[in-house]
């Protein structure tokens, strides 16, 4: 079987995505079962692929049997299959979640599968232009899914995302164009040697990297190119937010890692000091500003969106540090952050469904009524801060250690201080959930409104906590809790990651 699984992984979801629309002509609710079947198949294939690759090394498949450098290759090495596994996992989890939470409709499920296929294509492709194609497929479907609840706000957010996302992809394309002009090939494996021949200081190569970097920075939502993200995450339906926050920027960051170290190689960073320093500076600013902006938000989903800006800042900083420990940390953090954000958005969606709580003030005292969901938010938040044992700590430790090893004291300082920044907004939520009396918009606690709360009916202006428990099933909470457990359990798993990624890192860093 071996490398045939790679095109299967990409083609299957895309082909299956047509089925909900076709079956939808006859059956009303054909979408979810088909999407579920497709996602489970993808997950099964992903598990198979990663075990295969871990045992026997990377898989390479030439599409249509056209050899490189003319044909398009699909490459599954340990890094890509790790992200493939993440994609498979998250798509199944969010799909279970969305069964009750919505959105519903055959068109949505069709788009869901298409998005999965597009992401898998981004991750598995070995050709730069092919990457652009899948990036665009991903982007277009994401724009549609963001707007899928048909409200005005989400349409606006999607429109913003369309503009900025297309600009990002176009910048990436320009960069690819320059590379093609300079080297004559688009295949990633070929380009490694070709760029070396042309020379790392060649202005065309540097310009190409610059454009590719900025294009991805926009897709990854680094400050100041992040402006589409808060709106898109906040106004999209909750399931869609969970999915895209976990996977879309992750795939873009993966592509950045791949291109930086497989195409341009670490030599490029060593030779071009200015580029490394510039990226580190921009990423550090992103970390600080993202956290500060998150702290200032009142809407929960926007807070999480700005948190992503900060977390991806850490990942990009690690890429710029460009040593083995830091990149190892970046990959772990990529995986971990995907899981953590999916869990956080799903939990936020549960609280929104049951209590209509979307702002931080509306979260007051909800821990009493939704202990499991609140505990999950608390634990995942604590993992995000970087408290051991958790996968958040692992990622942060290796990135910080990598910065220290490389002598990049500025980045190291920012990474260690980011603990405080993340702490600030995470504990704001936790404090509100656990230590504010319920239905208390301003947190004045036990002075004025206090007596009223215990009667159960707010008499004057206090919020009446109406709980719509039918909007949420046990399954949804189980999804969230299982992600929480995974996030903590993976805190002990550095060896697993190391064994898996060692060949890749060796190749990157010789």
């Amino acid at each position: 079987m071996s490398d045939v699984v790679l095109p299967l992984l990409v083609a299957l979801p895309i082909m299956i995505s047509v089925l909900p629309l076709i079956f939808g002509l006859k059956y009303e609710n054909a979408g979810w079962p088909i999407a579920m079947g497709g996602s489970l198949t993808v997950l099964a294939l992903a598990v198979y692929t990663i075990t295969e690759v871990a045992a026997n090394g990377r898989l390479i498949h030439a599409l249509g049997n056209y050899p490189q450098p003319y044909g398009i290759e699909l490459v599954g090495d340990e890094l890509s299959t790790l992200i493939v596994l993440l994609i498979g996992l998250v798509s199944v989890l969010v799909l279970v979640y969305s069964r009750t939470r919505g959105p519903y409709g055959n068109a949505f499920h069709s788009g869901y599968l298409l998005l999965t296929g597009g992401l898998l294509g981004v991750v598995l492709t070995g050709d730069l232009f092919n990457l652009f194609v899948f990036l665009e497929i991903t982007g277009l479907v994401t724009y549609a899914l963001v707007a899928s609840d048909r409200s005005g706000k989400s349409a606006y957010a999607a429109l913003k995302y369309v503009f900025l996302g297309t600009i990002g992809a176009s910048l990436y394309l320009i960069g690819v164009g320059y590379l093609y002009v300079a080297t004559g090939t688009l295949n990633m494996r070929d380009l490694q040697g070709a760029i070396e021949t042309v020379g790392y200081t060649d202005p065309l190569i540097q310009a190409a990297f610059g454009f590719i970097l900025v294009g991805f920075a926009l897709k990854v939502a680094l400050f100041p190119l992040h402006t589409w993200q808060p709106d898109a995450y906040a106004y999209a339906p909750d399931s869609v937010s969970a999915y895209i926050s976990a996977l879309v920027s992750t795939a873009a960051a993966y592509a950045l890692i791949r291109i930086s170290f497989d195409v341009f190689t670490v030599e490029f960073f060593l030779v071009n000091d200015l580029i490394s320093t510039a990226i580190m500076a921009a990423a550090s600013v992103s970390i600080v500003v993202g956290s500060l902006l998150a702290l200032m938000q009142t809407e929960i989903k926007r807070m999480f969106a700005y948190s992503s800006v900060a977390q991806f800042g850490m990942i990009v900083a690690a890429i710029a540090v460009a040593n083995e420990t830091a990149v190892f940390g970046a990959i772990i953090h990529l995986f971990g952050h995907g899981l953590m954000k999916a869990g956080l958005f799903m939990a936020a969606g549960i609280l929104a469904a049951v209590y209509g709580a979307r702002t931080i003030d509306e979260y007051a005292g909800l821990a009493n009524r939704s202990p499991f969901t609140a505990a999950s938010i608390a634990v995942i938040g604590i993992a995000l801060i970087g408290i051991p044992p958790s996968i958040g700590f692992l990622g942060k430790w290796f990135i910080g250690l990598g910065a220290v090893e490389a002598g990049e004291w500025g980045v190291a300082f920012v990474i260690f201080v980011s603990t405080m920044l993340t702490l600030a907004y995470v504990f704001r939520i936790i404090e509100k959930l656990y230590f504010d009396p319920p239905g208390d918009p301003h947190g004045h606690g036990s002075d004025h409104d206090h007596e009223h709360e215990h009667d159960g009916a707010a008499t004057d202006g206090g919020h009446e906590l109406v709980a719509d428990t039918s909007a949420v099933t046990v399954g949804m909470v189980v999804m969230v809790v299982s992600i929480t457990i995974a996030v903590v359990a993976l805190g002990f798993s550095w060896e697993l990651f190391f064994d898996l990624l060692a060949p890749v890192l060796e190749r990157f860093f010789q």
Partner: protein, 630 residues
């Protein structure tokens, strides 16, 4: 030192983690729930104590859970220094769990399940810190301790408590999450390992001195935040808004001691005393500690709120430990390490007394405690003994540790550098200051009466003094007198005319205080007055949830910022004497028992330090660190 693989270090930690789950599960049955706490405490102490003889003889019990990072195992080692802290924490938790029951039920507190569960988790983390075998493991438990103690600090759920919780988290995460993590990464980078090695990690000794100095400073300050080193001590007085058992065990014993313990680990097992001395860092931390010592004592003198006074006293006493650790030599180190258990017993006694006073009489301010010795003789007696120990009076724990440190300081001064003499001077001065701020409490409790007591100049009067006139004034009083409308019941201020002296008249109910640092209108005591002070004596069984306690108090509060409740009831304090005294009628045995146990511990350490095991263990620790007995 032989290493033996043993499950007991891990078991000691897991016992109370399991108890946490059981406590949450039995939230409907308060007695069962409290039973879990006590059972866990006793079991934990049993496990720890069972390792004590072996550790004294040189065995080190190791539980290796697995590798958490390359080159770093998640390993628990019960070595002598770890045993010191673990024994202390587990023993005191046994005592405190009884006290908690008395306190929480006496005040009919809300959220008791969360309280007891968080308490169990916190002690678990503290034992984890004690038994950590390397910097990464201690970092993990250090952070978990902050997370577990946060619900205890913010327990009251008032705006004040939440603000205190935020400040607490901010400081401890800055110290732990930022500084300790950075320091750990630096050590790992320099030495390739973060394992605690008795006498110091050898690879560090060959590193670049500047880098080693910076790493040490980062680590020392990181742990020092929790140990209350100035100027990062601000969280400690603010955290006094928590219930008293929390203040007692955690903030005077477990949390702050874990900070001091962390510094001890860094000094003894990461860098090593000799290397630190050559780096010149020992003197640096000793100086910071000496400054903290003195400044905190001076601030404590001005505090009228008893718990605040005790908080600053803690800040001051913790610096004794850090001071001793910076002194190079056998005596200094022994004194510093002995002060860990010594101070723990004494401070715990003091806090327990303060809590008992609060529960029984609702009095928090020293100015209202005149004559309270009649009402709570045993409690105040224990307070007196513990306070004497803090000042370093012989026969009590504080004297032994201080004596060692004084000798250590003088020895360092004679052999190495005369700066040490100043440190000795600070220690002596602080002993005097201790008396200055503890004596008024004892004096006012036993030697004054409710209707006849003096102002305490250092507390009540303005800094810099005030002007008065001895000439008779037309309006019968100096209008810049701090007392506005208070007056002796029979006087109208004309005494100035007759005697030429304006006598201070203090009527506690009418004094306007400006204790703006500590707004107490929202603390649990105000909102949940003790049942016995209201006529309707309803002793409902507390189901561990929130509602009941809040109902009683609605209209008895005036929400006036400076209106202090507490103080003697209308007819003066009830006098407990004779048979009632010996039966412990002044308060419940749940609280009295632990008080007596703690003060007995302080006495035992003061009189037979070897026999109770602490001093011998400490000598083993210091010898193991490579400092030989002179």
């Amino acid at each position: 030192m032989t290493e033996v693989i043993d499950i007991r270090p891990l078991a000691a930690i897991l016992v109370s983690l399991i108890a946490t789950g059981l406590i949450i599960a039995s939230y409907k049955y308060p007695n069962v729930r409290e039973g879990w706490s006590i059972l866990a405490a006793v079991t934990k102490f049993g496990i720890v104590a069972s390792m004590f003889p072996g550790v004294m003889n040189g065995t080190v019990y190791v539980s290796n859970i697995g590798t958490i990072l390359p080159g770093v195992d998640f390993v628990l080692r019960a070595d002598p220094l770890g045993m010191l802290f673990a024994t202390l924490a587990s023993l005191l938790w046994v005592i405190t769990s009884f006290y908690c029951i008395g306190y929480m039920r006496g005040l009919n507190e809300h959220g008791q399940t969360r309280f007891f569960a968080s308490f169990a988790a916190s002690v678990s983390a503290a034992i984890g810190i004690a038994f950590s075998g390397n910097l990464v493991t201690i970092f993990i438990f250090y952070e978990l301790l902050s997370v577990a103690t946060y619900p205890l600090v913010a327990h009251d759920e008032t705006a004040e408590a939440r603000a205190a919780g935020r400040k607490y988290l901010g400081y401890t995460f800055f110290g732990g999450g930022v500084l300790v993590l950075a320091g750990t990464a630096l050590v790992y980078w320099i030495a390739g390992t973060t394992d605690f090695t008795a006498g110091g990690i050898t690879a560090l000794a060959t590193a670049d001195p500047l880098v080693a100095q910076i790493t040490f400073i980062i680590l020392a300050i990181g742990f020092g935040v929790k140990a209350g080193l100035m100027p990062l001590h601000q969280w400690l007085p603010v955290a006094m808004v928590a219930p008293t058992p929390v203040s007692g065990l955690l903030h005077a014993v477990a949390v702050v001691k874990s900070g001091a313990f962390g510094v001890a680990r860094v000094v003894l097992d990461v860098f090593g005393p000799e290397f630190l001395y050559t780096l010149g860092m020992g003197l640096v931390i000793s100086t910071i500690a000496a400054i903290t010592l003195t400044a905190a004592s001076l601030i404590a003198i001005r505090k009228d709120h008893l718990k605040q006074r005790l908080a600053y006293s803690t800040v001051s006493q913790l610096s004794y430990i850090v001071l001793g650790l910076g002194l190079f030599g056998w005596y200094g180190l022994v004194g510093a390490l002995l002060h860990i258990p010594a101070h723990a017993f004494m401070k715990l006694t003091l806090f327990f007394c303060a809590g008992a006073i609060h529960v029984e009489t609702h009095t928090d301010y020293i100015s209202q405690m005149a004559g309270i010795g009649k009402r709570m003789p045993v409690t105040l007696g224990a307070f007196t003994i513990a306070a004497a120990g803090m000042a370093g009076i012989p026969l009590l724990a504080g004297f032994v540790s201080k004596y060692y440190m004084l000798i250590g300081g003088i020895q360092m001064g004679a052999e190495l550098t005369p700066i040490a003499y100043y440190l000795v001077g600070a220690l002596l001065l602080s002993g005097v200051l201790n008396i200055v701020y503890f004596w008024p409490v004892v004096y006012t409790a036993f030697f004054e009466a409710e209707d006849k007591h003096d102002a305490k100049p250092l507390v009540d009067f303005k800094l810099g003094g005030e002007t008065r006139s001895v000439l008779p004034a037309a309006d019968g009083g100096n209008d810049r007198s701090p007392r506005t409308d208070g007056g002796k019941p029979d006087g109208d201020g004309n005494d100035a005319e007759l005697t030429g002296v304006v006598e201070p008249d203090v009527d506690p109910e009418e004094i306007e205080y400006e204790d703006s640092e500590f707004d107490d209108s929202n603390i649990a005591a105000r909102l949940n007055p003790s049942d016995h002070t209201t006529p309707s004596h309803n002793n409902e069984e507390h189901t561990g949830d929130d509602t009941h306690a809040h109902d009683d108090h609605d209209d008895t509060e005036s929400h006036d910022e400076h209106h202090h409740h507490g103080g003697p009831p209308a007819g003066g304090w009830e006098h407990i004497h004779g048979r009632d005294l010996w039966l412990g009628k002044e308060t419940t045995w749940f609280m009295l028992g632990p008080i007596l146990a703690a003060v007995t511990g302080a006495l035992l350490i003061g009189t037979i330090p070897y026999s109770v095991g602490f001093l011998e263990l400490i000598e083993v620790i210091v010898e193991g660190a490579g400092v030989s007995r002179p």
